[in-house]
Structure formats: structure tokens, C-alpha cells
Symmetry: C2
Subunit: 450 residues, 2 copies
């Protein structure tokens, strides 16, 4: 019986994160202050982030040591398994080898826990007693709640109101780990009250929840803010995924020709991909593919430009692929991929043609997830299912061409809390949403005014 | 960094199941035909089970080979990790070592998949095209749905109607794996129609769903029935858990003084415990503890007697600890522990004082689960939380006595689909239900009539 699963012991949790800024030939242009339009210095970010994270945002050191207390928590579930999806290969009748890195085994259910633990650690080290954040469907909120619990910090989560009511399980999970979860917009912040004054029945939005969480952090001395994707330090913390995968491919005596991740803000994609980008920059031949929804086609149809990270135009201006900060994505089930922008580092790599991108509509994505659940057993989150679709299509390409390539994708999270989306798919009720050209042009207009 | 997790490669999936009937000094009295009261022969069970499973029910061979196609599927998630719960130990400040065997990583979420895969395999081998079963909260139904999907058999699940509506996620999971799920009582069977004629709004019960599933199997040539606990062959298939754990304790250079599992029908308990009972029978000193709810105290307050396995008195009479087949347990959240009887093999071991039993009420059980989720991250199913409670209490006893004992419990399943129960606990809405003495005496009366 050949192995399906390539496992590493606790002691193999990486001791350093990989910082791709050390190796990129072109770095993305720096963030600009939203008012002065000057590059943002560390001091401007100090009210909301601890200094070590700000330094990680900007450093060009190649390897950043992972503190022992962080590794000690990561090893509760890390190294995650690298799994050869042999039953999927057989179902596709492909000569390709398909592997997935299973981040879904984290207690919070996704890769998000990797950066949550690190962020809470640095906050605790610098005296933060309380952390505020926003969450949509709840993946990030639950990861941060778990991490705060481990380090004994208070956690305040502003959860988009419509999700708060429609996804009660994620809310329960956060509360079980001790977080204080508030439906946003709330009466607890000026930003929330302003929205409620205009629209008492507002369902909320991620942009609104960000505004509440940032206001909460800025207005209290004991509180900092935490973000689950997009920023350089978040992507840095995710590189444990790719670093472990490289060791596991040695065990498997194999090496990927194609590396795949779904991309919303870019952090799970970067986590698997960046250590492989390093190899590519060093001359190794491989393809790296970011996968997004057609309903929010940031890389495939957006432009590379300075733009705000949020609708409310409060964040620094980031150089990135964006659909415009006014962009309102359709209500697809992959909530984690509904972001108008993309991490600067991922954007720059795409601009420099070091990575590829492609977009899929919902039905082919869920069809891939169904096949995966039926062959490998595991049920992917709707976001993750985008990577599954791309991996399957690459394997089918290999079949057609008779090529024995090796494909790996990041299984960023499980779908246990997303089964209503599967119900809708099985009932034939999912729409294959494309973002209409005229709306896209309209939202891109907002960039010209910057 | 010492290891938390003791991992084995795919190739270490056991090659044989351990059959405790080979080593028990006293075997339980044989099942009796419900009408003739004569011991049931293999031919009487042939209409509902395939012959190899019937033989496994009765054999006294010590080791039963696990067929390769079964091992090939088990290795999708097996061997499951044996995990040292160091953060829990620290929180309790106990000198004890606490380990758990994590069966929750199965794609179906619990140990139930171990027997589902084996049962479907033998059915397929003997030409069965379709399998019917019942499910309450859905753990068993989802495991069987997954297994039928892997072997290409149709799966028909009669799901207790109140759960069908209250636990839609488990229903979705079964449907994603291709099962046909019907709310029970249904119009599809005579048994269901009879109930609906009397009470069109019946919420259903496990007993009723069993009747529908058995009728379905008996009335169709292509269909057999499948049961997820209680029977000898089911317990046999679960022994991979304990066999793996023994190998993992060698890696950990440790050995349990106390082995713990929650017990409803008895299968997850037996799965971990039986290989250790073997050691105990061979002279090794260790304690083995079955944990049940005070609301359904089968071992701790029931009697050892012949009784029906179901309310409708259709099954053979089994010699077991029972509260009486008329017993109606309160609506505790640990649905999998609400069974009036206990597997014959487990019952006999308890009668012979080879194992202990204890019962807990809901609030202390959920308090233990909360502490576990906050220290180890992982959220236990309410059933599993009974084992967590007992493990914590054993560790506290060790602390008080200053003893460095080793404790292991079976983490039978995750609680991702049970978070409403945690909500109720956190809101202080759980009742600590005891089964009242007078009701108990009343239900035990039914046994005297047998």
C-alpha cells in the first residue's frame, strides 16, 4: 500500500517564515497615507498594530524567526498533512499526480489560524490586552477568537449582521472560545450608529464592520486591530504552508509542476505559493496559479493601481490589482473571495508574470467540490472549491496531453459550516455570476479620481 | 519541542480486527428469536445482513483480516492521531498525562466511518445494491452515506423527522455524498404510514426510523439493512482505534493506566477499549471506564437481562444491560447516547467487572468540553464530551493523590454540527437531567414480562 498522506512530526513546524520581499526583483510601490499621499511610515500604523508586525510589514530580511510560543500553538495541528488525492486521480483517469495541503484540520477550520496565532502573540508581547476585528462569514473571526483565547487576550469581533443571523454556528464557535461577538452595524461605535440612524435595518457589510473594528481599536488604549489577509505580515505568517509542503514533497519523492490556491485577499494563496515562487525565481520551472470567482475577478479583470483597502476610504492607499473600492460583489457563497483588491505582493508577482490567474463561476466550482467530496471524502469550503476546480482542470489538461505532471493545491478550509451552499448547488439554485462589463468600468472610474 | 501528536503512516492501518470473543472467559448469552425464544442462527439474519457480517457476529477467531479495499479507504484518514493534551494538563495542573485518539478527523466526523466502510464492502461483495438505515442526529447516516458512495451502492437513510428539520447540515452532508434521505415517519413504508395515520405531525423517533429501515430492507431483494452500533461485528470493526493507539503509545514511550470512552450503544468505547481489555485479561493492570449520561444510565442503573433492541420489539432479544425497551430518554444533546440498551459484549465485560462505568449530567459534561476547546482548540461532540469529563476527573484525582498516571480517551467525534448545544450551555439553558427512580422502575417492569 503506497502512502496517501505525507506526515511530519510536530518538531517539523518551520522555525522561520519566508519573506518574499527579500527575493522579488520589483517590490510593489509603498502604501500611501490616505490624505497626504506620502509613503506611510511605521509610526502612522502604530495606533492600530504592534511594532513587530509593522516591522514585518516592511522588512526585507529573507527569514523571520517564528517565536517558540507561536510554534507551540501551531503544533496543535501543524504540520498539516500533504495528501495525494489518488481516488480523485482515478476518477479523472489522469496521469497527473494531484496533492492537497489540508489546512482544514486547524481547529478553527482554515489557514487563517496561522496568522491569528502570530498576530495575537506579538500583540500580547507589546502589552495589548484586547483585539478588535471584523468578520464576514466567520472564518477569520473564529481563528482570531481561538488565538486570543490561547494567549488570554480579549477578542472583540464585529460580524456582518446578515452573517451573524444566517451563520449562527460560526458565531457560536467564536463565543465558545470566549470572544465578544457583535452584529455590525452596532450601537457600540460612532460609525455603526451613523449607519443605523439612516437605516435601522441595515444588513451590514464587511466595509462597515472594518470601520467599526478600527474605530474600536483607535478609541481605546488597551486595544489594537487585526486583519486576516492582504497585508505583507499576514502573507508572511502563512508561508509555513508552502515550507512544510516542500519538505513533504521530499518525503513523497515528487515535486510540483503546478501550484494552485484560491485568492480573495491573497493570504492562503501566498502561504502555499511564495516558497515555490522563491524556487521559480531561482530558476526552477513551474507554474503558479491564483484562482478567483468570475463574480469578483480582481486579477483577471481588475487594474494595477493605488486604491483604498476599504469602502470607507480610511485605510492607506495600496498598490494592487483592484476592481475599485466602490465595487460591490454579488452574493456568491465563497464569501472569503469577495474582496475588491488583492494583496500588494501577490499583485506585483502577477504584474511581473511570475504567477497566473484564472476565474471560475459558481456551478463548475461546486461540481468540482462535489467530485472531491465523493472521491476523497473531505468537503471543501466554497472558497477552497475554486482551487479544487483549477486542480481538476489542470489534471484533465494533463490527461488530454498525456502528460505526467504533479499538481498541488491549498485546501484552505473545510466546508462544514457552508452546507447550505451545497444544498443550493444540489437543488440547481446557484447562479453563474459574471461581473458585468459596464458595472466594472463604473467601479474602475473611482480609481481615476484618486 | 516534545511531540504532542503521535502519527503513523498509512501503511500502519491495522491488517486485522481484534475479536474479543476469542479471549472472554464468559461470553454473553446468545441472541434469542423474538417469537420462538430459541437462539438465533445465521439463516435468521440472512434477509437483513450479508453472510460475512453474520459470521463475524458469531466467530471466536481472535484476528479477522481487514480486506484491502477496506484498508484502502480507511487510510484516507487513518491512522488517526494519538494526541497528548499538554495544554489541558497544564490548565489542570495535573501530574497525569492525558492523551486522546482523534476519530473526529474522519470526513464524516466520527468513528462511525470505520464500520460503515467495512459493512458496505461486505454488502457489495455479496451483491447488495442498496443499503437502508436509520439515523438520529445524523452521525451514523453520514458515515454510511460516505461509505456507500465510495463503493457505488445506493444509500437510503430514514432520518428522525425532528432532526431532519433541526439538523439540516447533517442531511446536506448525506445528500452531497449521494444518499436518499427521508424524514421518518414517512409515507414510504407501512410502518411509517401507520404512525402518520394516527399522528400526522409525529416528530419521529429512532425506534420508528429503525422499523422503517428494516421494513425497507426486508421488502426489497436488492437491499440490506445496516446498523451503526451494538452488534458484535460493529464493535469488531472499531477495534482499529485501540490497535493503532497501542502502537502510538510505543512511539510515545508511555502506556495508559486508565482507558476511557463514552458509551451509547458501545461501539466507540469498545473500539478503543477492547484491545486494552485483551491486555488486562493477560494480566496487565489498568482501568477501563465507560461514560454515559445520567439521563440514560444504562450501565450504572440498568439491569443485565434479555431485552429487545428496539421499541417495536422486532429485533432478536439481546442479553445486555438495559433500562427496558420502553425507556424514553430525555432530550439531552448527546443524541448518540440516548439508547436504552448496551452492546452485549460491553455488558458482559461490565458484569464481569473488567470495566467500570460512570454517569454525568449535561452541565459538567459541557463545562469539560468548553475547557477542552479552550486548551486544545478542538470542539468535541456532546457524546465525546462525556469522555472528556471523565478524563478530566481522572486527571484531577491524580493531582489530588500526587500520582503520575497516564489517561487516554476516545475523541469519538467533532462538534461542528452541534454548536447549538454549546449555545444553550453558554446561555445557562441546559438541564442536568437525572432519570427519575420511579420511571426507571416502571420501564424495568417491561423486562419482567419477557
Amino acid at each position: 500500500m503506497s502512502d496517501n498522506r505525507f506526515l511530519l512530526p510536530d518538531s517539523a513546524v518551520p522555525e522561520q517564515w519566508y519573506n518574499i520581499q527579500a527575493d522579488m526583483k520589483t517590490l510593489p510601490p509603498p502604501p500611501l497615507h490616505p490624505v497626504t499621499r506620502e509613503p506611510v511610515g511605521p509610526e502612522a500604523l502604530a495606533p492600530i498594530f504592534p511594532m513587530e508586525l509593522i516591522q514585518q510589514e516592511m522588512t526585507r530580511e529573507r527569514w523571520i524567526p517564528i517565536p517558540d510560543p507561536v510554534r507551540d500553538i501551531l503544533r496543535l495541528w501543524r504540520p498539516t498533512p500533504l495528501v495525494r488525492a489518488r481516488r480523485l486521480e482515478q476518477a479523472l483517469d489522469t496521469p497527473a499526480h494531484i496533492y492537497y495541503k489540508n489546512e482544514g484540520i486547524s481547529p478553527a477550520g482554515s489557514h487563517k489560524a496561522n496568522t491569528a496565532v502570530a498576530q495575537v502573540y506579538y500583540n500580547k508581547k507589546e502589552g495589548t490586552r484586547r483585539i478588535s476585528t471584523e468578520t464576514g462569514a466567520g472564518q477569520w473571526g473564529s481563528a482570531l477568537s481561538m488565538a486570543c483565547n490561547f494567549f488570554g487576550l480579549e477578542c472583540k469581533v464585529y460580524m456582518v449582521k446578515v452573517s451573524y443571523h444566517q451563520k449562527p454556528y460560526r458565531r457560536s464557535l467564536m463565543q465558545l472560545w470566549g470572544a465578544n461577538v457583535t452584529a455590525s452595524p452596532s450601537e457600540e461605535t460612532a460609525a455603526g450608529r451613523a449607519v443605523l440612524a439612516k437605516d435601522p435595518d441595515s444588513p451590514g457589510s464587511l466595509g462597515m464592520a472594518i470601520s467599526e473594528a478600527v474605530e474600536d481599536a483607535v478609541s481605546r488604549d488597551d486595544t489594537k486591530y487585526s486583519l486576516g489577509s492582504v497585508l505583507n505580515h499576514v502573507l508572511l505568517h502563512q508561508t509555513v504552508i508552502g515550507l512544510e509542503a516542500q519538505k513533504q514533497f521530499e518525503l513523497a519523492d515528487d515535486y510540483p509542476d503546478v501550484v494552485i490556491g484560491c485568492a480573495g485577499g491573497g493570504s492562503n494563496f501566498a502561504g502555499l505559493a511564495f516558497p515555490f515562487v522563491k524556487e521559480k525565481l531561482a530558476g526552477r520551472k513551474l507554474r503558479i496559479v491564483a484562482v478567483e470567482p468570475t463574480a469578483c475577478p480582481t486579477l483577471t479583470r481588475g487594474v494595477f493601481s493605488y486604491d483604498f483597502g476599504d469602502v470607507a476610504q480610511m485605510t492607506p492607499l495600496l498598490a494592487m490589482y483592484t476592481l475599485g473600492h466602490d465595487f460591490v460583489p454579488s452574493g456568491i457563497h465563497a464569501g472569503g473571495l469577495r474582496y475588491h483588491g488583492m494583496a500588494s505582493l501577490v499583485s506585483q508577482l502577477y504584474k511581473d508574470e511570475l504567477i497566473e490567474a484564472r476565474a471560475y463561476a459558481q456551478n463548475p466550482v461546486f461540481a468540482a467540490a462535489e467530485l472531491f467530496a465523493k472521491t476523497e471524502g473531505v468537503v471543501p469550503a466554497p472558497e477552497t472549491a475554486h482551487a479544487v476546480r483549477a486542480a481538476i482542470d489542470e489534471a484533465l489538461r494533463c490527461k488530454e496531453a498525456g502528460r505526467r505532471e504533479t499538481i498541488v493545491f491549498n485546501f484552505s478550509g473545510h466546508g462544514h459550516f457552508d452546507l447550505t451552499a451545497y444544498d443550493a448547488y444540489l437543488a440547481g439554485k446557484l447562479e453563474d455570476l459574471e461581473y458585468p462589463e459596464e458595472k466594472l468600468q463604473e467601479s474602475l472610474q473611482s480609481l481615476k479620481a484618486l
